[in-house]
Structures are given as C-alpha cells and as structure tokens.
C-alpha cells in the first residue's frame, strides 16, 4: 500500500498537469524516492490514482531505465560505459567494483547496499570516466579513487 504521504505527493504533482496521465512519470519517481523501486502493487495503485490502465503505466515505467521495476540496493551506481568513458577505461572501474563489491551490471550486493547499472553518457565526457552513486557525480575515476569513493558511502 502506498502510504498517505506518497499518495499526497502524487496527487499534488498531478495537479500541475492538464491531464493526470501526463504526470505519470513524476508519480513513479515519487514512489521510487520513497521505496527505491516500483513494485507491482505500487504500479497498480499509481495507475488507479491517475485513472489509467496498469498496462499503460507499465509501458511508461519500462520505457525509462531509471524507473526500477525490480528491487535495487540502497545506493545505485550508474557507471557510464559510453564512448569517452569506454576509451578512458571504464572497464577498469567496472572490474574494480566487481572486485570490491562482487557485483556486475544488473546485480545487487547481498547486503542490499549497492546496485550496479550501466549508464549511457552522463554528459561529463571531459572528466571521463564518470559515474554516479545515488545523486552524486564522481569524475576522473581511477581504481584508487573508486576505493575512496565507495568507502565514503554510508
């Protein structure tokens, strides 16, 4: 069940749009802010709140790869693997994460702390390789800086 707070936020958000259906992405983001991901029941409830079929909302949810339809860890690492980062060695960073956290793309650590996902260009090519951990952008990555960054995360 979506709690009252989430429902309230969604209702508030929907008011900004001429048709409620237009606010569906924001609604999904609100759920995700609160619950990290969008479960089947949450999806159905949001669809009912907006007044559109669940199938339609699922179409939107699965279109965007930053709407998570599977559980993710507390911190989502978005490692850029586009051209600039690839040329400057994102492979090594990926290997570093694997070594340290024992997860590869699409996986979550056993303690539910980290999920690693590949990411298309973060728009930060001049400081490649780049990645985001949660909301924070990290740049000019090296295997060493990676260790530091991961250690700094709670």
């Amino acid at each position: 069940m979506l709690n009252d707070q989430v429902q309230k936020e969604i209702r508030g958000e929907l008011e900004h749009y001429p048709t409620p259906r237009a606010g569906c992405i924001e609604a999904l983001k609100i759920v995700q802010n609160h619950e990290r991901w969008v479960s089947d029941t949450a999806l159905q409830e949001v669809a009912d709140l907006i007044g559109i079929p669940a199938a339609e909302l699922e179409g939107v949810a699965t279109f965007y790869n930053l709407i998570y339809r599977q559980p993710v860890g507390k911190h989502v690492i978005l490692l850029c693997d586009s051209v600039s980062c690839w040329l400057t060695g994102c492979g090594k960073i990926r290997a570093g994460i694997k070594q340290r956290l024992n997860i590869d793309f699409g996986q979550t650590t056993a303690d539910d702390r980290f999920t690693l996902l590949p990411m298309a260009c973060l728009g930060n090519c001049d400081h490649a390789p780049s990645m985001m951990v949660g909301e924070v952008l990290h740049q000019d990555l090296t295997p060493e800086s990676l260790d530091q960054i991961l250690e700094g995360v709670d």
């Binding site: 048709t19 089947d40 199938a55 339609e56 699922e58 179409g59 279109f63």
Partner: protein, 904 residues
C-alpha cells in the same frame, strides 16, 4: 479531388491529400509497409515504405521519404524502384528481423504472413547479424489468442488497434529497443471482445488464433468459402476455412458497407457448434417409450416425414430467426402461409415488428454499419451494443472521433495522420449520450451517461424529440432530465450527421419508438439537411428475414382448431427459449412434433421425428441483417451422412406428399418462388451470384493454387482420389481448378502474387479501404418512406418508480454466453463468466447483501437462485438478469420480482 502523380515515370490518378503509400497500393503498386494499416492510418514508425521523392522535374537526386507520411499532390514525382530506396527498404527489414526467430516452419502465420511477403518483396535474403537474439517469455492470453512474442517486429499495430482503435485497456507496449514487448501487464485473458482481430492486424505470428491451432491447417490447404456471421443481427461477412470436412477457422471477409476489416470474437471464435460431437447427425424417430430416439436412415426419414405432413389442414410450421430465408420460406411453402408462424417469442415478435415499422414507414435513414463511424453526434438508448451487436459498439467508438477528425481537417491535418489527429484530440470525444439501465462498455468515451429504467429511457428520448419538434408529445415531470434532454437535442442538432441507436435488446417497445421519434423530430428540425440516421439492432441473424416473410406470431396458434392430431414442424428452433414451458407444452400436446435442427435442445428431446439439419457452414442461404441487407452465405463444409440443409428436407417432404403439384426442387427454384411471392425480397437474388453463375464457363475454386495432399488426404481409406463434392447451390467449386478473379462476385479468400497474407485484400478493392472491385455487399431491401409525415407515439410511458421490496427484472445481454449457438463453443465457454444478477450497490446493501451472495429471485412465474453482483453504475430499483442464464428457463422480461439472500 483527383490529382496526377508520377511513380517511376508512369502517371497515376490519385485522391489529393491521400498518403502516397495508400495511393500507390490503391493503384495496384507493390510497396512494402508494416506500421501503416487501412484502418489505423500512418505513424511513419517502421520506415519500411521508403520511396525516393523528387522536388520537381529538374531534381535528379531526390530524397528518401516515407510514403505513408507524405501527401499526394498534383505533379508529385516519386520512385519505388530507385536503387537507393530499394537498398533502404532491404536494410530496414534486415534490422526488423534481427531478433526474429526465423521459425516460419512452425509458425501458424507461415504461408499467410505479411512479414514473409514484405521480406521477399524487399529482396532481403541473407542475414548478417551473428549475435545472440533477444528472446521473450510468452503470455497465456486466454482461450482465443496465442502469443509468441519472439516473432515481433515492433510495428506497434497491435496496440494501435487494440488500445487506440478498439478501446482495449489491457494490451500495451513495454520496454525499449531490443527489449520491446507487446502483451498484457501480466498473464491473463485479453479482455476486449474484439481481441481476435489481432490475428489479422498483427503482420507476424505473434498473435494467432488459438482455436485454429487445435486443428491447424496452412492457409493454402484450406478450402475457403464466403459466409455471413450468424451470431448477431449485424451480419458481418466472414470467410470460413475447411479441411477434412471440418470447419477450421473463421476470418474477416471485407464488406465496405458492413464490417470492413473487422469482426468480433463471438463471430470469430463461436464456430465450435459446427464441429461439435453433440451435433444431431442422424435422423431419428421416437419409439413407443417416448424417450429413446431410434436412428433411421434418410429415406425412411423422408417417408416418415411425408406421412406426418400429408394432411395440410392440420399442419403448423414454426420458423426461426436463426434459419435462412430459404429454409423459412420452404417451411412456409410446405405448411401454407396461413399455418406459418414466427419462431420468435411474443415479445421479440412485437419488438422486431416495431423496428420494421420504423424503418419502412419512417422518413429516417438507416445507415450502414460502416457509415456509423462517420456520425458526429450519437444518442444511444436502452442497450449496450457491445453485448447485443458487438461490432456496432466498435463503429460507435470510431464515431466519437469524428469531431476531432473534422477539427484536424480544419487545421490541415489529414485523417490518416493518426498520431497527429489523436494528439490534437487528446481525451476529447465527440458527443455520445448513453441512456441505459446499466453500465455499457462505451461509458468511458460517453459525453454523458444516464442510468434509467427502459420507460425512463423512452421518456428521455421523447423529451429530446419534443425539444427538436414541438409537435412531438411533451413529457412532463422530467425533473433534472429536462435539461439533459435539451443538451442532447442541441448536440444532435448541431451535428453534421446525427445518429440515434436503439434496439430490441432493451426489451422495450417504448425505447425503440422513442429512438424513432428522436430521429423523426431531428428530421423535422433539420428540414433540408441530410436525413438523420436511425440504427436499430435486432435479436438474431435472420430476425429481419423472418419478419419480412410475414410469419404470424406464435401466440395466434392457440386460435387453431384445438388438438386432435396434426403435426407441428419446428425449424431450427428451441421453442423453450421462446415461451414459457407450459405454453410450449400446451402448444405441442396432442400434436406430432417434427424438429429440424443441428443442435440438441429440449424441443428436440420431445420430437417424434428429428431431422438432422445443416448448420450455416454446410449450406447456402440468405440472411437479412438488422439494416434490411440481404446477404448470401455458402457451403463451406459438405454435410456428411444424413445431414441435409433444412430447405432440402422440407422440399423432399413437399415433393413426396404432394407429387402432382409443381414444386421448387432446388435452392434456386425456392428463391424464384420466394421472390415471386415477396416482391420486396426479389432484388436479393438478382445478382449473378446465383448457383448457375459461371465465369468463362467455370466455377470459382475454394481451394488455393497450391493446395497440397489432395491425392493423399483420404489415402488411408482408399488410394483412389475421390471425386470432389458437387455444390449445386453456389457458383463455388470444391476444387483447385476454376476461375479466380478479383472482379468476380464471389471472393472466397484473398491472395495475389507476392501477397499471401490477408493484406492481399488491397488488390481486390478499387481503392484501399473502399468498395470491392468484385464481391457483393448485399442488397438493401427496405427503403425509408421519404415523404412520410412525422409521426410520434401517442402514449408516453409513466415514469418508473422503484417499488418497495420489489425489483424490476430487466434483460442483460452478454457478449459471451448470451447467444445460443456461440455459447456451445468450448473457447467461448471459457470466456463466459458465471451469470450474476446485477443490482445497484445501495439496493444490494439495503437487502443486506454483499458481492457474490446467492439470492433467490421470486416472481409470479416461479423462482430461481443466482449470485449477485453489486455496482454503482446501475439504475436504482432494477435488477439485470443475463439472458439465457442456465437453469432459469424462459422469462418474459420486464417482470417484478422479490430478492432474498439465500447464502453467502
């Protein structure tokens, strides 16, 4: 306006503003496409229809454009054959096919696949992609549709049809790029009663017919026959596929005036009764104990029959609204017109007569089903067509887009620019007012809905009529509905082409008359503008045909000299569905009962003589649909064993018992006799679709060019190839040989060189989506009386007042389970939900009920029990009872009843 365009140096005439793809296809050119579809328009997403377009005569370079997204204008010059355009198209298909499993050999679509056709057309013949293909999990979509997602080429047609066109809510597109998935949000039955069209709309083998899978045959091995659907009064055209003497599947048959490209799931999947092992396959005579039916052979059966009908004076013939015009007329010939009775219930008889009267004597025009799509304001009274006449509901859904299409046209956006037109419209829908006792499947797009008992629906209708024409009777004490009536009247009056819809499923004569009154008053108010449209549904596939034969109502039988022997011949009819059991028993007691039918039912159970009749798939005949359109169907499966068409049994009986008179001997004679007696029907058979029709002395073959195994099919029985069966009743042959021509009157299936899928249809039309070059759209038999003075009902029904402790039982139509023949189909049975008594939630609560409780419904005619469903969207004080609820027996509704909780 027609303009000239040049395609590869040749000049063609096309409609100005039409998209170039449609223009090319309409001119018989081959240009591959996927996302475009005649009823869905263009979105330009698949990039398959690329052509080279040149700016002017001096342009030698040209540029690649998508033909489906470009308008045809005078002087426009394009090339399909341009090498770059060709390479582009081959490249596109290579991409589309990257993940395709190439499993044609085990794919049900194989041999009639648009993807196969288009791939061959582009010339792409070897794949370069060497990597892993993405694969998907398939869903169980219920008893009708098979899902094989790996074959998808992401053209989006399925969702555009199912969701945008048909208003379905449970099919969508999920994911992106390589992971695109088309299906339901979770496994489960597709809910739309129009899901079957996915089979034809999807250009690949993702969505295929699951019922067909159980007795699968390649298209090229089917013998195909043009037919007409028997599962409601609209008379959609179908193609029946036969192999090994069984009916294998039902496909849409295009009729530009009726069903266009679509049929409903009842029509597509309801055919199981034809193949059923419960069929009556032998003649039988009831032996002395009164229970056992003893099989007799056909000759003995004819002799028995003859002896029973010798004495014409004491004969009674009861016809059937689900039997052909010919069978009904043959019965009438046999028993004489004074002894020929309608097999409809008293109520149906009266309602149908009301409809016929409105159509014949009123000045309003009955639109074709197809025309309905272009109505721009609609008033729907009394029933949910989704259940009573399914395809009407789909047509009405399109009509609510009409105003936005007109808006778009004003903004310079042509109708075929699908995404743009829908984008402009957003959620707005043209005026559709619905007044019914319970929710309808069109409520989601209605401008306003009112839940009211039939009498109040009629009052609202009459009030609208009065707003439009003060000469129409004034309804008093309408309360808030007076304002509504004014709004409806204003919307109808403002429209270019208003439409009023009602029908017999409401069970109310007053509603039908009120609908006619609205249309009449609109005609008065609109004066010189085009006649308003009035569309009235009927109970069954040939209710109209039966009415046109002037059968007498069943109730008049009792005026016959009582008892003392005589025979009653019942044609394809279960009388226990038409009247109370006591009435039927009284009617039949002391008489010898002869029943001709193909399915078992209680009337058969008490017959002295049972004659096994052909189903609609095993004979030729004519049905008249609700708009008065006579349409012929033909033998798809040769009847086996003792089974004969009803008219055949009747004619044999007639010849045998009155040998010295001249009688019709064939279907054709019968038609001639019928035409002579009913001039109104004469035009039905004027065309050259007659059995004697030949093209270059040949018949039209049912089998395809490449039918295989003909010589081996029956080798287990005999190695000698049997002679193909003769079909004396049509110009079709059970053969590969004969005359095939897109201009012929009879088109058994669609095929053209390079076009093996149903989309070959374009080659049979003057222009895509327009009338057929050949084929036959049927003949409209009833013309309105243009100069009829406006006439209105004299009586205004009293307002409905809910009674204390009693509920008005009203009939509820259901798309699955509410129609006699399709209800016998196993797949339809899976889709049939348990019958429930539908009540307003608060009425239920006042009875101390909760959802699903079993209640006893008690009326003066007895009692029965059912689970209850409670909804907000039902008129207070009424209870909706599904028609044909098992165990309930015949009930003449409306009826007051008390409701009592039996158990939870």
């Amino acid at each position: 306006m027609r303009v000239k365009i040049t395609v590869d140096g040749k000049s063609y005439e096309v409609e100005q503003g039409d998209n170039l793809l449609r223009a090319c296809l309409s001119n018989g050119l081959d240009l591959p496409y996927f996302c475009w579809h005649p009823i869905l328009g263009s979105v330009g997403s698949c990039r398959q229809c690329a052509v080279k377009s040149y700016q002017d005569d001096d342009d030698t370079e040209g540029k690649i454009v998508m033909a489906c997204m470009e308008s045809s204008n005078e002087g426009c010059r394009i090339s399909i054959d341009d090498p770059e355009a060709k390479r582009f198209r081959a490249q596109i298909i290579e991409w589309l096919m990257i993940n395709h499993p190439h499993d044609c050999a085990v794919c049900d679509e194989g041999g009639e696949c648009h993807l196969q056709d288009m791939t061959v057309m582009t010339g792409h013949d070897s794949r370069r992609y060497r990597f892993t293909k993405s694969t998907h999990r398939n869903q169980d979509l219920g008893p009708f549709i098979n899902h094989e997602m790996n074959r998808c080429i992401t053209c989006y047609r399925c969702v555009r049809y199912y969701r945008d066109y048909a208003g379905g809510k449970d099919l969508d597109a999920f994911g992106v790029h390589d992971r695109m998935y088309f299906g339901r949000q979770e496994d489960g039955t597709l809910e739309s009663p129009f899901s079957g069209n996915l089979v034809e709309v999807c250009p690949t083998g993702v969505f295929t017919d699951k019922t067909f899978k159980q007795h699968y045959t390649r298209k090229w091995d089917l013998q195909s026959t043009p037919s007409v659907c028997v599962h409601c009064s609209l008379g959609c055209n179908t193609i029946l596929g036969e192999r090994y003497g069984g009916l294998r599947r039902v496909l849409n048959r295009y009729n530009a005036d009726v069903n266009g490209y679509l049929i409903c799931d009842r029509g597509r999947f309801g055919y199981g009764f034809v193949n059923s092992d419960q069929r009556i396959s032998e003649a039988g005579v009831r032996i002395a104990d009164g229970c056992t039916l003893e099989s007799i052979d056909s000759d003995v059966a004819v002799r028995r029959f003859t002896s029973l009908i010798k004495n014409k004076e004491s004969l009674i013939g009861i016809g059937s609204p689900r039997a052909s015009l010919e069978a009904n007329f043959a019965l009438r010939q046999l028993v004489g017109k004074e002894n020929f009775y309608s097999g409809a219930s008293a109520q149906e008889f009266e309602l149908v007569a009301t409809v016929v009267d409105a159509m014949r004597n009123g000045s309003t025009q009955t639109p074709s089903l197809r025309q309905i799509e272009s109505a721009d304001a609609v008033l729907l009274l009394g029933e949910d067509p989704t259940a009573s006449a399914p395809l009407l509901s789909l047509a009405l859904r399109q009509s609510t887009r009409q105003q936005s299409i007109l808006e778009a046209a004003k903004a310079g956006i042509p109708m075929w620019q699908d995404a743009a037109v829908r984008g402009l419209a957003q959620d707005s829908h043209g005026p559709l007012f619905i007044a019914t006792p319970a929710a309808t499947a069109l409520d989601d797009i209605a401008s306003e809905t009112v839940r009211a008992a039939p009498d109040d629906v009629a009052r609202l209708g009459l009030a609208v009529a009065h707003e439009l024409d003060p000469k129409a009777p004034r309804v008093v004490k309408l309360g808030a509905r007076l304002k509504l009536a004014k709004r409806i009247a204003a919307a109808l009056l403002a429209a270019e082409q208003p439409l009023v819809v009602a029908g017999t499923a409401s069970g109310s004569k007053a509603v039908i008359q009120a609908a006619a009154a609205v249309a009449t008053a609109l005609g008065v108010a609109r004066a010189k503008a085009a006649a308003p449209w009035l569309f009235l549904t009927l109970p069954e596939c040939n209710s109209m045909g039966l009415a046109l034969l002037n059968a007498k109502p069943l109730a008049e039988i009792k005026q016959q000299p009582k008892g003392r022997g005589g025979s009653v011949i019942v044609l394809e009819n279960n009388l226990y569905r038409r009247a109370k059991a006591e009435q039927v028993d009284a009617l039949l007691d002391g008489k010898t009962l002869v029943v001709l039918d193909h399915v078992q039912h209680p009337t058969v159970d008490r017959a002295r003589l049972v004659l096994p009749a052909a189903t609609f798939a095993e004979t030729s005949g004519t049905l008249v649909n609700n708009e008065g359109r006579a349409q012929e169907f033909h033998t798809a499966v040769m009847p086996t064993g003792a089974i004969r068409p009803s008219h055949g049994w009747l004619l044999s009986g007639l010849t045998a018992c009155r040998p010295d008179e001249k009688h019709a001997l064939s279907l054709e004679d019968l038609r001639a006799a019928c035409a002579a007696e009913f001039p109104e029907l004469a035009s039905t058979w004027l065309s050259d679709e007659s059995p004697t029709l030949r093209y270059a002395k040949e018949k039209v073959p049912r089998a395809s060019f490449r039918a295989s195994g003909r010589t081996a099919m029956h080798a287990n029985v005999s190695v000698h190839e049997p002679t193909p069966p003769e079909d004396p009743d049509s110009a079709l042959a059970f053969s590969m040989e004969g005359f095939r021509d897109p201009d012929a009157q009879l088109i058994p299936s669609y095929w053209a060189p390079g076009w093996n899928s149903v989309q070959a249809l374009s080659k049979f039309q003057f222009e895509v989506g327009g009338p057929m070059r050949g084929g036959k759209p049927g003949v409209r038999l009833i013309q309105p009386c243009k100069d009829a003075p406006p006439s209105y009902p004299d009586e205004i029904p009293a307002a409905f007042a809910a009674r204390e402790g009693e509920w008005l039982l009203l009939p509820l139509s259901r798309v699955f389970g509410g129609e006699e023949l399709s209800s016998m189909d196993p797949a339809i049975q899976v889709r049939t939900s348990q019958a429930q008594l539908l009540l307003h939630e608060d009425d239920g609560l006042s009875l101390g009920l909760s959802e699903g409780d079993i209640v006893e419904i008690q009326s003066e005619v007895g009692s029965f029990s059912l689970p209850v469903a409670m909804r907000k969207n039902v008129c207070r004080g009424v209870a909706m009872l599904p028609l044909d609820t098992p165990g309930v027996g015949f009930l003449q509704l409306p009826l007051y009843a008390s409701i009592r909780r039996v158990s939870g």
